[in-house]
Amino acid sequence: MIVRFPDHRSFYGVSENSDQFIQDLTASQNSLYGYILSLLPDRAAAQDVLQEVSVTAWQKRADFQPGTSFFAWASKIAYFHVLSHRRKMSRDRLVFDDEVLDYLAERQLEREEEVSRRGLALKSCLEKLPATQKQLVEQRYATGGSVQDIAAKEGKSVGAISQTLYRIREALLRCVEQHLAEEELA
C-alpha cells in the first residue's frame, strides 16, 4: 500500500540569500498590507495589489541592498502598484486625490516603527476584550467576514452590528494608545 507522506517530510535546500529575502518579504507582509490599504481602502483591491507587489519585489530582488530598510524599499514598489491600480479604476470609485495620496504615502514611511508597536499592543488588547466582543470582532475580520453576514446570522440589524463593532474598535484604539503611552513611560 502506498502511503502518502505529507509534504513537510521532504524539504529541498534554499540558498541563503534568497532565503533571507523571502524572510524579509514574509515579515513585511503585514506592514505592506497596511500601507496599501491606507492608500487604497478596499480589502479585495489591497490584497490583489499586495500580491502584485510581492511578485515584483521578488523579480527585482537583486536591486535590494541588504542592510537597508526592506519596508522602505518595498513600499516604493507598492506605491507604484497602487498608482497603476488607480488608473484602471473607474473615477467614481477613487477615494483619494493625488495630493492626499502622496501625503499619506510619505507619512506611512515615517510611521513604520509606530505601526509595528501598535500591532504588538493590539495583540494584548484583543486578549483583554470580553468574550462576546472578541467573538464579534473575530467574525467580522475573519477571511470573507462582513457586517451584513453577522447581522443575518445573529438576527440583528446591520446598523446595530456596525455600531457595536465601531465601539469595539474605539475601545481597542484607546487600549492601544494607552499601551503606547505606557511604553514611553517605561
Binding site: I2, V3, Q29, L94
Partner: protein, 505 residues
C-alpha cells in the same frame, strides 16, 4: 469623520462620502493621523484574525526544482509564478494539513466544515455535535460540543477552548497540542484535553504517555493545570477514542447519494434503453455514438446488457450486491449513462463514488490488445474528448487513475486477484487551484471504516480540470466477461460506502 471611517470599515462608503473624506484629509495632518491609525487597526485586525496565510518558500522552491531538469530557461519565470502563489495564496492554494472525517449533528460557529473537506491552517469553531478530523501527520482528533481548535500544521494544533480527544499512534506519535497553560506532546497514544474559558486546562492520559513541559504523564493519570499554580492530580473520566466513535454511531447516509445504479433487475438480457432504474440519471444507459469511438473498428461486441445473479461475492453490507449485477461480455463493451447533475470540476466541492467489480483471473492474462480490464470513466457531454477522469486496475493489478491528457497516476502497490473488489474514489474539486483525486480498491478481507482511509492506493498531482463531467461510462475490454454492480455517487464517504450499523453488533 468617525462616521465616515465606520462606513469605510463596513464597506458602505458612498461616492459622495468618499469625496468628503478626501476633503477632510487634505491639508489636515491631524485628520490624516486619525485616518492612518484607523487603517492600521483595520489591517492588523484583518491579518491577525483572518485565516493565516501560510508562506512556504520551501515548498515554492521545491516546486521549481521539479521542473529544473527539463525547463532550465524557464526557471526564473517559474520562480515568480510559484512564489506568487505562496506569498499571497488564495485560500484554495493554501496547503491542506488535515481532513474532516466525520461531522455528526454539527453546528458550526465558523463556516460549515463538510465531511471529507481538506482543512488548511486556521481555526475551526464547533458549537455543538461531534466532529472527527485526521491530521496529515496521522493524529486524529474528536471535537465535542463548543470547541475552538486552531490547526497549525500536519502535526500541531492549539486548543483554544473546549474538549478534544487525540489519538496519535505509531508514526503519528509526537503530535503536539498547544494549550493556554502547557504544550502537550503525544508520545504514542491517546489523551483527552479540556480547556475552560478561564484557561484552566485538564489533561487525561487514556493510553501511552503524554509529555508536558519537561515532564511525562502516564496512562491512567489526569492533571489539572492552572496558570501560576502547581499541576494538580484529578481522576480520569474521559471516554476512549473508540468509545466516542461508538457513541457518535456514524450511520450510512444513502439518503445523500446523488447517483445510483444497483442493476436491480431479474437475470436476463435487456436493451440498454430498458435499464432505466436508479437515481440521479438524465436517461437510460446507451451505446457510444460514432463520434465517441476512437477508431471505427471499436464497435461493441454486443448491443444489449446482461443482468446476472450471484456472480459476485459480496462481504460488504450491500443488499443490492446480491440481487443483480451487470455482466460485461468478452471483447469490447462500452455503456454510457447521462447524469442529471454532472460533476462540475470548475466548482468547489467533493464527490465520492463506489463500484463493485469482479474480474476473473485478471492478473493471469497474457498482455494483449485491447488492454484487459474494467474501467469507470467520467466524461463531459459538451466536450467528450477533452477532460475526463477514469478509474481502473492495470493488468499488473495496480489501481490506476487516468486524467486524460493530464496524466496517469498508478499505485505502487498491487491488489489481490480473483476477488470481488470495492472501488472507492474521492474527487476534491476546486474553483481555483489544484483538483485532487484519490482512489483505493478494497479486497474482500479489507475492513471498511466509518470514514475515509488515511492512505489511498493512488492520487493525482497537479490536476486542474474545469469541465462538467456528466457522462458515466462503464467499459470492459479483453478476453473474458466481467461483472460490475452497485455504482454509487455522493458528496460524502458515508453516502457511497456501505457501513454496518453500530447496533448490528
Amino acid at each position: 469623520m468617525n462616521d465616515l471611517l465606520r462606513k469605510l470599515s463596513d464597506g458602505t462608503l458612498s461616492t459622495d462620502e468618499a469625496k468628503e473624506l478626501n476633503e477632510l484629509l487634505r491639508g489636515n495632518p491631524e485628520a490624516c493621523e486619525i485616518y492612518l491609525n484607523h487603517i492600521a487597526l483595520e489591517a492588523q485586525l484583518e491579518r491577525e484574525l483572518g485565516q493565516p496565510r501560510v508562506i512556504s518558500p520551501v515548498r515554492a522552491i521545491r516546486s521549481i526544482s521539479r521542473y529544473r531538469a527539463f525547463a532550465k530557461p524557464l526557471l526564473a519565470a517559474a520562480a515568480v509564478i510559484t512564489l506568487s502563489f505562496f506569498l499571497w495564496p488564495a485560500d484554495k492554494e493554501q496547503r491542506s494539513i488535515a481532513t474532516m472525517l466525520l461531522a455528526e449533528d454539527c453546528q458550526w460557529r465558523s463556516s460549515v466544515v463538510n465531511e471529507g473537506s481538506r482543512l488548511v491552517p486556521g481555526k475551526i469553531q464547533l458549537s455543538s455535535g461531534t466532529a472527527i478530523l485526521r491530521f496529515d501527520g496521522g493524529a486524529e482528533a474528536i471535537l465535542r460540543g463548543e470547541t475552538t481548535l486552531e490547526l497549525l500544521s500536519a502535526v500541531q494544533a492549539r486548543l483554544i477552548t473546549g474538549e478534544v480527544v487525540i489519538r496519535a499512534e505509531g508514526d503519528a506519535a509526537g503530535f503536539k497540542l498547544l494549550t493556554p497553560v502547557s504544550e502537550l506532546t503525544d508520545l504514542g497514544t491517546e489523551f483527552a484535553v479540556k480547556v475552560q474559558r478561564s484557561g484552566v486546562t485538564e489533561l487525561q492520559v487514556l493510553d501511552g504517555q503524554v509529555g508536558y513541559g519537561d515532564a511525562i504523564a502516564d496512562a491512567g493519570h489526569a492533571l489539572r493545570f492552572e496558570a501560576g499554580k502547581e499541576a494538580e492530580a484529578m481522576p480520569v473520566t474521559s471516554p476512549r477514542f473508540t468509545d466516542l466513535i461508538q457513541q457518535a454511531a456514524p450511520k450510512e447516509r444513502r439518503d445523500l447519494m446523488t447517483h445510483y445504479d444497483g442493476f436491480f433487475y431479474d437475470a436476463g438480457t435487456y436493451q440498454p434503453s430498458d435499464i432505466v432504474k436508479g437515481k440521479g440519471w438524465a436517461g437510460p444507459w446507451r451505446l457510444r455514438q460514432s463520434s465517441e469511438r476512437r477508431l471505427p473498428n471499436e464497435i461493441d461486441s454486443t448491443t444489449d446488457m446482461r443482468i446476472v445473479e450471484g456472480g459476485l461475492h459480496v462481504p460488504w453490507p450491500i443488499p443490492g450486491g446480491k440481487l443483480g449485477g451487470l455482466e460485461m461480455p468478452a471483447g469490447r463493451s462500452f455503456r454510457l449513462r447521462p447524469m442529471k447533475q454532472g460533476i462540475d470540476m470548475a466548482a468547489e466541492g467533493i464527490t465520492y463514488f463506489s463500484l463493485i467489480t469482479y474480474e476473473p483471473e485478471h492478473g493471469k492474462k497474457r498482455r494483449t490488445t485491447p488492454v484487459e480490464g474494467v474501467r469507470l470513466t467520467f466524461r463531459s457531454s459538451a466536450d467528450y474528448w477533452n477532460e475526463s477522469l477514469s478509474f481502473g486496475c492495470q493488468q499488473s493489478l495496480r489501481p490506476l487513475i487516468q486524467a486524460g491528457a493530464q496524466g496517469n497516476f498508478a499505485s505502487a502497490a498491487a491488489i489481490a486477484d480473483e476477488q470481488s473488489l470495492l472501488w472507492i474514489g474521492k474527487i476534491i474539486r476546486r474553483a481555483d487551484g489544484e483538483d485532487e483525486v484519490f482512489f483505493r480498491i478494497y479486497g474482500q478481507a479489507d475492513a471498511l471504516d466509518y470514514a475515509e482511509p488515511a492512505t489511498w492506493h493512488t492520487s493525482t498531482r497537479g490536476l486542474r480540470q474545469s469541465a462538467v463531467l456528466d457522462l458515466v461510462m462503464l467499459s470492459s475490454t479483453g478476453q473474458s466477461p466481467r461483472i460490475v454492480d452497485e455504482l454509487r455517487i455522493g458528496p460524502t464517504w458515508r453516502s457511497v460506502v456501505p457501513m454496518r450499523m453500530t447496533n448490528d453488533k
